[in-house]
């Protein structure tokens, strides 16, 4: 049945419809956030190293040499270990493991949290009760001890295994947040409207609800990545996971078991720790960026204000600032009854 043609159509441009310029994506605005941009750049740098690190490493990270425990020099930028291994090369090669575990664990955990969080929030009822109980159990079981135990269960737990273990044990928080958010989205009119239009449940979840969860998903992903990297490094550091594969934790493990600090070999200890801290900071910055993107109130930059003539103005809740009069001639200022001691 064809719709009756409209009679009110007044303007009906002839010819093919002009392709309108796609509206600017809101998502891109996220990058414009200074914090997020900084974080992304640093993260990008580490990703790059993760990819090319093994190729650009000047030495085989495991190769012994006769320069034992040497401080940084032009041959060994970050010095050497007790076996004469080049720490700089170890750092470069080790980045891959760190990033791999972090990202994979983040992906696994995020996928699980979406699966469990969103379906529990959307389905409701008994399924919800069951899935939330499951997430609560996983929330209650402390992750790090659990990871330590599970990782020590698996013989020769390599990067892949560690990533999976971390991924499978750290989804619960994300699931809880996503569930809460899904619950609130599920009641939104546009979800109901999509249903009333005749959309299938599956499509409502993937096309209507999920896009609105992107920020939360991204933020929980980044959060898990931070957690995964820290856990992985901790596992390597305390010698639970295999140390056959180089990563920053392995370097720290060796430094610690050889008591690098007591030996005065700070170069063995410092680069890995700093790299972790920088990577962690970068990821946190991205998360702040996301937070601020989701909740613009958090943008602190909005509070450093300058007038046109460069005078700083502090915005305060409850006491709206008054702009100084640019010129005195506009309206005669009535006598000041009280001197404002601003």
């Amino acid at each position: 049945m064809s719709a009756p043609t409209s009679t009110v159509t007044t303007v009906s441009p002839e010819g093919p419809a002009v392709e309108a310029k796609p509206a600017k994506r809101r998502r891109l605005r996220f990058v414009a956030n200074g914090k997020a941009a900084t974080g992304l750049i640093v993260l990008g740098f580490f990703c790059l190293i993760a990819i090319i690190g093994p190729w650009i490493a000047p030495y085989d990270p495991s190769a012994r040499s006769s320069d034992l425990i040497q401080p940084p020099s032009s041959e060994h930028w970050f010095g050497t270990t007790h076996l004469g291994q080049d720490i700089f090369s170890q750092m470069l090669v080790g980045t891959r493991g760190v990033m791999f575990v972090g990202l994979l664990a983040g992906l696994v955990a995020t996928a699980l949290s979406i699966l469990i969080g969103v379906s529990s929030g959307f389905l409701g009822g008994a399924a919800d009760e069951g899935l939330s109980a499951l997430s609560n159990v996983f929330l209650v079981i402390p992750a790090l001890p659990l990871i330590i135990i599970v990782a020590s269960t698996i013989p020769g737990a390599g990067d892949l295994m560690v990533a999976l273990v971390i991924g499978f044990t750290s989804w619960a928080w994300g699931a809880r947040v996503l569930r809460a958010q899904t619950l609130s989205l599920r009641r939104r009119d546009y979800v109901e409207a999509a249903r009333a239009t005749g959309e299938s449940t599956w499509r409502i979840i993937t096309a209507e609800i999920m896009p609105n969860l992107t920020a939360i998903i991204a933020s929980s992903f980044v959060g898990t990545v931070i957690f995964a990297i820290m856990s992985e490094i901790t596992l390597a550091f305390i010698g639970i996971s295999t140390i056959s594969e180089w990563n920053w934790g392995t370097i720290l493990f060796w430094a610690q078991s050889q008591q690098a600090l007591a030996q005065g070999a700070w170069w063995w200890f410092v680069p890995a720790g700093l790299a972790i801290a920088i990577l962690g900071t970068a990821l946190s910055l991205i998360n702040f960026g996301i937070d601020e993107f989701v909740s613009p109130r958090l943008r602190s930059s909005g509070h450093h204000h300058k007038t046109k003539d460069g005078q700083p103005i502090r915005m305060r809740v409850g006491f709206t600032p008054i702009l100084p009069k640019p010129e005195q001639n506009a309206t005669p200022v009535v006598r000041k009854k009280k001197e404002a001691a601003a």
Binding site: R64, L68, L83, G156, T242, Q256
Partner: protein, 538 residues
Amino acid sequence: ACSNGDGKTNTGAAGGATVLNVGMPNGPQTENHNPFLGSSSGASLGYRWMIFEPLVMINGIKPTEAGKPWLATEWKWEANFTKLSFTIRDGVKWSDGKPMTAEDVAYTFQLRKDNDGLNSDAIPYKTITQTGNKVDLTFERSQFVNQNKLLTVFVIPKHQWSTLKDPSQDTLKQPIGTGPYKLKSFTPQTTTLELRDSYWQELPKVKELRYTSYNDNNAQTTALANGASEWSFVFVPNVKAVYQDKDPKNHKLYFPANLGIHGLWINTTNKPFDDPALRRAMDKVINRDDIFMQGEAGYFYPKVESITGIPTPAGESFIAPEFKDKKHAVDVEGAKADLAAAGYKLEGDVLKDKTGKPVEITLTNPAGWSDYITDLEIIKDNLSTIGIKATVDKANQDAWFKAFDEGTFEAGMHWTNGGATPYDIYQNIMDGKILKPVGKGGISGNYGRFSSPEATQLLDTYANATDDATRTTALNGLQKIMVEQMPVIPTSASNVGGLYSTKNWTGWPDEQNSYAPGQPTQQNALEIVLKLKPAGSQ
């Protein structure tokens, strides 16, 4: 916890030291003074030996020397080491004032006989009889190889132990022993012992012993370096910089070897490593010096020099005349020549076996054992000089243990048992009687699945021989097999060493005066404490 401690923090001042601070890196302890239990704090920190004394004191690094009479004044082996009789010392008192008698000694043995859990050396006791101040023991088999284990048995008071419900499950909060010290206080960090009023020997100078348990090697090392710990046994990397240089005059190491070794165990069922020629060639290129210097920090496990694998000087007297002067030395060219003669081909950097396959080997050890791992890294490097491609696999500890137990490993560092003679080493490596096929676990030695009926025969002969000549012949035969077949490539000796400070106390054993091993958790520790004198008092 027990009595109150005084708040004093360290040894006495100018008047000479009164307190000795002993440390071990074993983590927080729970109050458990049961000397039988390796898990007790007494065993973990070593103070059980200050409370419970042996019948005979035997120098752990000179096991062949005659022991010193301790709670037994005399002992005699009879009937080809199937009978042992002790004469028990008179006038020894338990710390609760009761006299120690032969009855206590007999009870001590009876307890071990009756409780599998306490018979940790699996001694086949037959009869235990006590008459007057004599105790006679008989055994199912010759106990030649176990003789020191029997002589050094520590004695416990019958009047206390017979009241315990389950001696193997008792934490023995109030230990009663014959030693010069009694328990003063216990905390998870520190156990303090104080001197008894009287002792059957001259009372030691150390008035108080403080055993502190540090959580890990680092903490222990720090404590040693800053003098908080005066005696310990811990692996310290770069020991010179980290420990000795902190007080070069007083910070001392003493790491003598005993009769146990560490080496690269090879699974002899794996092709082509079933070929002794290949194993010998590997031995020729493995640099034991590097392993000692880099892997073991230049002191920890002393290098084994003899090609027989017998550590010296502890085992000096056992080495067969033909191997007396044969010291291990790296000989790459020799190894290459031997391999060529045996039909191996070195093509470029790659060694090909007789079938033309490249020779590759995986070296496995638990990740956390940094000295072993370092050793493997060195071995890997060494093996590459004759074209063997080795990979170091850092396994999970349990996986590694399982691989050794079931014979599914290719090669890896492992230790051997130790004892009064090199028999224990060889038995552990070559005994065909304990051999189990690959894939079957529960093996207690011979992880490499080395099968040599000749070796098994010789071991049996040694253990049951009635005279020294037979034993010497058997041991020489075993050495020959070891040298020719090389089922394990020895690298280092086990140590019974320690790190100590002469700042407050002198009289420690050292290379010149090796009256005892240096380790604070060994039975000989009592002897050391008895010999210590406040610094400057001589």
